[in-house]
């Protein structure tokens, strides 16, 4: 134990150093590795070519999500419905074969436990406080919501972790995002993180690990914390953290892969030490007043292009930085928006409620609350709800949420990444607008030419009802 006050990040880092080298890099042990079909085939192939085994298949969990269509997966007789796109089918088959060939536990596409990697990890109790978690997907940052140091890696690093269970890393800088006060009614964790990304900017967190601190986060459910940490990457940070507490312990207790018995007590005792010490110093601090956060959406093609729903489309000339002016003008052209236009008058044709940011039960409940007894607006052509996992789906059906969605005119789908990225059949048509609960509004992210507005599940539900970007507080008092 060092006597110098440490941040949560430093404590987790220190507990995972295998060795530190002269050049300042450290070999860091990785406790949990999540593998999906898109970023792993080349890594397995490289291992095969070099004749290398997976060092710790027991610390690795494979589940398909990105590529999988969200339409039914089984025929009534229980046989698999084949995937129409041959490339997607081949990629899924590669994972299905690679996992058992290397001794890795695989969750099948038709299993109840299947879902988006970042939903499955915490849900199964695979993601634990104080652990190091990696996955070939940048939104791995989500697992920071249970107090894990979790970050996305590329395929070469996937190969490195498979072969060695370690990564060669340089210690990151630390950034504190402190939110004081309480969020207003109708303002959710998604609004908060969109607001934070707007303030910090997409490059503001580069080279840093963010720790979210303050009462607002302490009072949040684990699900909301996962939403916040998920979008740390949108603020440029590779990872985001929220210190584990009683809420975290209660969430994890009894999950299939959570520790149990004597191990549970030992784990909790250690988890309780995972707090940033008083007097610890962050390299950077950002203060945000919760009272300033309104229901927030994005208007442009970068996640930092945020605005309160009551606001207007900005005038590119209003930005001080000339490159930002240029970027904003380009964004508006792509988005088909005019400077000064009221955001609440912008019509949407598509609704996507899902993705690893907002597809957990709490998100579906929030959307259903707005949609109960209401109908999809006539100008909304396509509206889908995609639960984050088969278990979320079952829970939602038990609560009758699926009925609420279907009655309102939305489609109820099978779990997966869906319209978060234009990779599986769920895409937004060119030139059309989508109210989306996902995390990226890049050009073409939801399909070529698709125009994305990011928002919370409740706000996406409100847009479904009115057919335009809408302040949910007008519908739910």
């Amino acid at each position: 134990m060092t006597s110098k006050p440490s941040t949560l990040y430093e404590k987790i880092w220190d507990a995972h150093v295998v060795e530190t080298r002269d050049d300042g890099t450290s070999l860091i042990f990785i406790d949990r590795h999540l593998v999906h079909e898109v970023t792993s085939p080349q890594a397995f192939e490289a291992l095969r070519l070099a004749g290398r085994p997976v060092r710790r298949p027991d610390l690795t969990l494979a589940v398909p999500d990105h590529n999988l269509p969200t339409t039914p997966r089984l025929n009534p007789d229980g046989t698999r419905i084949p995937i129409a796109d041959p490339q997607s089918a081949a990629q899924l088959e590669a994972l299905e074969n690679n996992a058992p060939a290397f001794g890795i536990r695989y969750i099948d596409a038709s299993a109840a436990e299947q879902g988006i990697v970042h939903v499955v990890g915490p849900e199964q109790g695979f993601s634990l406080p104080g652990s190091t978690i990696v996955c070939g997907d940048s939104h791995t940052a989500a697992h920071g919501g249970v107090g894990a140091l979790a970050f996305g890696i590329g395929t070469s690093e996937v190969e490195h972790v498979l072969a060695t269970q370690t990564l060669l890393l340089k210690r990151s800088k630390t950034m504190e995002v402190r939110v004081t006060g309480t969020l207003g009614p109708g303002v959710t964790s998604k609004d908060l993180i969109l607001h934070i990304v707007g303030v910090v900017g997409t490059a503001g967190g580069t080279g840093h690990v963010i720790e979210y601190r303050g009462e607002v986060f302490e009072n949040m459910s684990v699900e909301s914390r996962l939403t916040v940490c998920n979008m740390s990457i949108e603020a440029g940070a590779r990872a985001g953290l929220i210190a584990p507490d009683e809420t975290t312990f209660a969430y994890l207790k009894g999950r299939p892969l959570s520790p149990s018995g004597e191990n549970w007590d030992k784990a909790v005792a250690w988890w309780k030490t995972l707090q940033t010490d008083d007097g610890a110093v962050f390299d950077k601090t950002v203060h945000i007043d919760a009272a300033d956060v309104e229901p927030t959406i994005t208007w442009g093609t970068s996640p930092e292009d945020t605005a309160p729903i009551g606001g207007n489309v900005p005038d590119p000339a209003s930005f001080a930085d000339p490159t930002k002016q240029e970027a904003a003008a380009k964004s508006l052209e792509y988005m088909g928006l005019a400077p000064g236009q009221k955001l609440s008058e912008v019509e949407v044709q598509n609704i996507f409620i899902g993705s690893c940011t907002n597809s957990r039960i709490e998100d579906l409940r929030a959307a259903a609350e707005v949609l109960r007894g209401r109908k999809k607006a006539a100008n909304v052509k396509w509206a889908i709800v995609v639960p984050g996992s088969g278990l979320v789906k079952m829970q939602a059906e038990e609560e009758g949420l699926d009925i609420v969605f279907k009655d309102a005119g939305l489609e109820w789908r099978e779990p997966g990444c869906s319209a978060c990225l234009g990779m599986n059949p769920d895409k937004v048509p060119p030139g059309e607008r989508c109210a989306s609960t996902s995390n990226r509004n890049f050009v073409g992210r939801q399909g070529p030419g698709a125009r994305t507005h990011l928002m919370s599940p409740a706000m996406a539900a409100a847009a479904t009802v009115t057919g335009r970007l809408t302040d949910v507080r007008e519908l739910v008092k």
Binding site: V18, E19, D23, L27, F29, D31, R32, V38, P41, Q42, E45, A50, R52, R56, D58, L59, T60, L61, H66, N67, A90, A94, G103, R105, F126, L128, G130, G136, D137, S138, G152, I153, G154, T155, S156, E157, E159, H160, A163, T164, Q165, T166, L168, T202, A203, G207, G236, R238, L257, W264, A267, W270, T323, L421, M423, R440, F442, V443, G444, P448
Partner: protein, 200 residues
């Protein structure tokens, strides 16, 4: 990975800021199970315009790309690096890079060079007509007009690039340290060793 010492030739004066990985290689191209052939999808949206810089005869086969701030932000897809490689790009010069992209580029032998915006502006000017040279050993970028800019480089990355080292192979030589760590962890944080509960 092949050893790299210098990258010399025409540099594409692209210059765009915040170029995200969806721009470098759209998701539809991620369905491949190979590292090859992604050059066709590189910058697909930009290249749908026939007058784009990437397909101009002038810059055909150019080994260097010059970009703006925060190059490679967005997803962790290594396909972005593979697509650049397949396009013939061996080095990217920009004021800053996203962390994940820089790591992915390095692992594929692509040199990422960070220079201040004024120097980038100068290189953009030169690149329009003349070649640029990146010297890894001396950590310099030079032009035929006596420009000489020095850049910082992580010593480990520099060594790997210049010797063409296999990082996985290197770490495997540390097997004993890793095994000792695993033993320590099994004593102090035993629940972490449980994983999926499946035997190794």
């Amino acid at each position: 990975m092949d050893a790299v010492s210098t990258v010399q030739g025409r540099a594409i004066p692209f210059g765009a800021k915040n170029v995200d990985t969806d721009v470098i290689i759209p998701a539809a191209w991620l369905k491949t199970i190979s590292r090859e052939g992604l050059g066709k999808g590189a910058f697909e949206t930009i290249r749908s315009n026939p007058d784009n810089i990437f397909d101009s005869a002038e810059f055909s086969g150019a080994p260097i790309l010059i970009a703006g701030d925060n190059f490679g932000c967005g997803s962790s897809r290594e396909h972005a690096a593979w697509a650049l490689l397949d396009l013939g790009i061996k080095a990217v010069i920009a004021p800053s890079f996203s962390d994940i992209f820089a790591g992915n580029a390095f692992k594929n032998g692509i040199v990422t060079v960070e220079l201040p915006q004024e120097q980038i502006d100068r290189l953009m000017e030169v690149a329009a007509t003349d070649p640029v040279t990146i010297d890894l050993e001396n950590q310099t970028v030079t032009t035929p007009f006596q420009d000489r800019f020095t850049f910082e480089m992580d010593p480990f990355r520099k060594r790997c690039l210049s010797e063409g080292l296999d990082e996985v192979g290197l770490t495997l030589t540390r097997d004993q340290s890793i095994t000792e760590y695993e033993k320590r962890q099994a004593d102090t944080l035993p629940w972490l060793a449980q994983g999926t509960g499946k035997a190794a």
